[in-house]
């Protein structure tokens, strides 16, 4: 059962990464915030167009070949030969959505997805060695037919579909919240791996603000999560700013030519550092990543229970933290505190030998040694 889970995480990560790759400025080119937003909008529009085109194509396929399965607002179109498989996928998807959103599933935007097997077309009944999902984007699932197991395969496919739906859902949210989440509306439950990833970031990021957050200063957590004042002055110390600029000069050629970068790195002029970092936002972003911020959304939705997603969608006029607190139905400070507790509790088991484990091993050594010493003397046949 572990294998599909890993695959599931990989698929999700790939989906998130693909969005990040689209959203992030390419080639490290310096862009202003406006240019950046414009570019994101252009890419989003392009993605919408492509999606619509694919949906049209899917709809245009002969209806006799297809069966339709509904999961809330999600319509799964599937060729008859793989109908039973897609039914299993739909069941898992339904379970996932029910767990994550309960009755709020109806709030999701309508999504049409065509799932069809691809691969050698010679067989009368195509196998499931490749399954193509058409809809918001193409997504392939590849598995050797001989290793195909009904019990295992629907899981990762359903996870992949959930990612597709999550990406689609961002249109429902306020653009501020959507941008804060970097367009990934993480409404599914916080997994152990996600929590551990957030823990690692909190534990190992070198910034002072993250260290303060790790040590329990919740106001600093709020800033580190980009929920309060958002500026390089709030987020980083003067030393950190200077250090980042100094380091960035090695890989950003334009900084080498910028006299402010010289003043910052060599002269230690903090004003120059702030100016450089504001002019080149890609050099230094928010202290905590979108993945960690998404963990806050997941915890807010989990805390809020039934109706949390609906409250989130309806709070699009509020500031991000207030919207999350409304969804969670708790005060903002309590939400941050809950998040902090949950993430710290997810600390991966360290290598430090536990007292119990060490003693157990020692006892085994003694037991086995005594067993050897009690070996009989009568050995010659």
């Amino acid at each position: 059962m572990c294998e599909p889970r890993i695959r599931c995480v990989l698929v999700r990560s790939a989906a998130v990464l693909s969005v990040l790759l689209v959203v992030l400025p390419s080639g490290g080119a310096a862009q202003s915030a406006d240019t950046y937003r414009e570019r994101v909008q252009r890419l989003e529009q392009r993605l919408e167009r492509l999606t619509a085109e694919q949906e049209r194509r899917a709809e245009a396929m002969p209806p006799v070949e297809l069966d339709t399965l509904r999961v809330g607002p999600v319509r799964l179109l599937t060729p008859i030969p793989v109908q039973s498989f897609v039914t299993a996928v739909a069941a898992q998807l339904r379970d996932s959505l029910r767990t994550s959103l309960a009755g709020d599933t109806v709030l999701l935007p309508p999504v049409n997805l065509l799932l069809r097997p691809r691969g050698p077309r010679t067989a009368a009944r195509p196998g499931l060695d490749r399954l193509e999902v058409q809809g918001v984007h193409q997504w392939f699932y590849r598995e050797e037919e001989s290793r195909f197991q009904q019990a295992d395969i629907p899981g990762p496919v359903a996870s992949g579909l959930l990612d597709v739906i999550r990406l689609r859902t961002r249109v429902m949210l306020d653009s501020t919240l959507s941008l804060w989440l970097e367009n990934d509306i993480a409404f599914d439950s916080l997994t152990v791996i996600q929590a551990q990833t957030a823990y690692l970031e909190l534990a190992i990021k070198p910034w002072r603000i993250v260290r303060d957050c790790y040590e329990g200063r919740l106001d600093r957590c709020r800033d580190a999560l980009a929920l309060g004042r958002q500026s390089v002055i709030t987020w980083y110390t003067a030393d950190e700013r200077r250090h980042v600029v100094e380091t960035a000069r090695e890989w950003e050629p334009r900084l080498g030519e910028d006299p402010r970068a010289q003043q910052c790195a060599v002269g230690g002029d903090d004003h120059a550092c702030v100016a450089v970092l504001e002019a080149y936002p890609h050099v230094l972003r928010e202290p905590l990543s979108a993945l960690t911020r998404q963990s806050l959304l997941r915890i807010a939705l989990q805390s809020g229970g039934t109706g949390a997603f609906g409250r989130l969608v309806r709070s699009d006029t509020l500031a991000v933290l207030d919207a999350l607190a409304t969804a969670a139905a708790v005060p903002a400070d309590s939400l941050i505190a809950r998040w902090h507790r949950a993430i710290l509790a997810a600390r991966p088991r360290g290598t430090v030998l536990t007292l119990g484990g060490g003693w157990t091993a020692f006892v085994w050594v003694v037991v086995l040694g005594v067993a050897a010493m009690r070996s009989t003397r009568w050995r010659i046949r």
Partner: protein, 300 residues
């Protein structure tokens, strides 16, 4: 006279086909005890039982006044043992084997070990795995003797050795015994070899002790008699009639093999109307063969 080894009513089953039954052995202290028996008669098993290497079934075993197996470690500290097959670690050199072995014995005599090494012409650097059979035999005897033991248990120590090495090994044993009042328990199926050195003899066959007596008694008590006009039924003989066979064509009569013979017993033949023509002494080997023959076919 005390016994260095006393085994009383010992039973031991080895697999499904062989067992030691009701074995009683007494080895007098200071004697050289020859333990005779054909191959597979149970000699090695008996030795392993007496050294505590095998668990006895019933009975009791005492060696050097201590119970076996309870006090096996103390007994082994005073016992030099040469097993039937070489048991040393192949990867050792002779020098290493001597050092290793010596480390376990408080009575270890390093000077004697070196003397014997030189006398046996053993190269200290030679690997045990590459030694000839004779060299291995000499090394094992060296290790046993250098322990300065009170008891030497030698299981077929000269089996497969050439006459020169055999002589060296046995001479070393006799030298040792002459210097110390040690007991030697030596098993062999080479009867003539024991005849020269042993003063006690025990004969084993099929897991049982057939006879145990002083060598002199054994040798002198077994005779071949040529008898004429022997009666067809023989009873109440003062000796033990081991075998009775027709004589050769020339002399006629019968040949009797008897045990416990003494000269005054000649009168017995006159009493039954027979004539004793000749009394022939048997050597140990002949006596041994006759003894086994009788033991195996009691109706003969």
């Amino acid at each position: 006279m005390t016994n260095a080894i006393e085994m009383r009513g010992v039973h031991h089953r080895l697999g499904t086909s062989f067992e030691i039954r009701d074995l009683t052995v007494n080895v007098p202290s200071g004697s050289i005890y020859g333990f005779l028996g054909p191959n597979g008669s149970g000699k090695t098993t008996t030795i392993r039982l007496m050294l505590g290497l095998l668990r006895r079934g019933k009975g009791s075993i005492q060696v050097l006044g201590r119970p076996i197996p309870a006090d096996a470690a103390r007994v082994l500290a005073r016992t030099g043992y040469v097993p039937e097959r070489p048991h040393l670690y192949d990867s050792f050199s002779i020098g290493e084997a001597i050092k290793y072995h010596g480390a376990f014995f408080r009575t270890w005599d390093a000077r004697r070990a070196e003397e014997l090494r030189v006398r046996f012409r053993l190269d200290a650097a030679a690997r045990i795995g590459r030694l000839s059979k004779g060299e291995t035999g000499k090394l094992m005897m060296l290790l046993a003797l250098a322990q300065s033991p009170d008891l030497l248990v030698l299981d077929e120590p000269t089996d497969g050795l050439d006459p020169v090495v055999r002589r060296d090994v046995l001479t070393a044993v006799l030298d040792y015994v002459s210097q110390r009042d040690a007991t030697v328990f030596i098993s062999s199926h080479l009867v003539h070899e024991l005849e020269r050195i042993c003063d006690w003899v025990g004969v084993m066959d099929d897991g049982r002790l057939v006879a145990e007596m002083p060598m002199q008694t054994f040798k002198s008590g077994i005779k071949r008699l040529r008898v004429a006009d022997a009666p067809s039924l023989v009873s109440d003989t003062p000796f033990v009639l081991l075998a009775r066979e027709p004589g050769d064509g020339l002399s006629g009569g019968e040949v009797w093999v008897v045990r416990g013979w003494q000269d005054p017993m000649k009168q017995y033949f006159e009493g039954v109307g027979a004539r004793l023509r000749e009394v022939v002494d048997l050597d140990l080997e002949e006596g041994f063969v006759e003894l086994l023959r009788t033991f195996r076919t009691p109706d003969a």
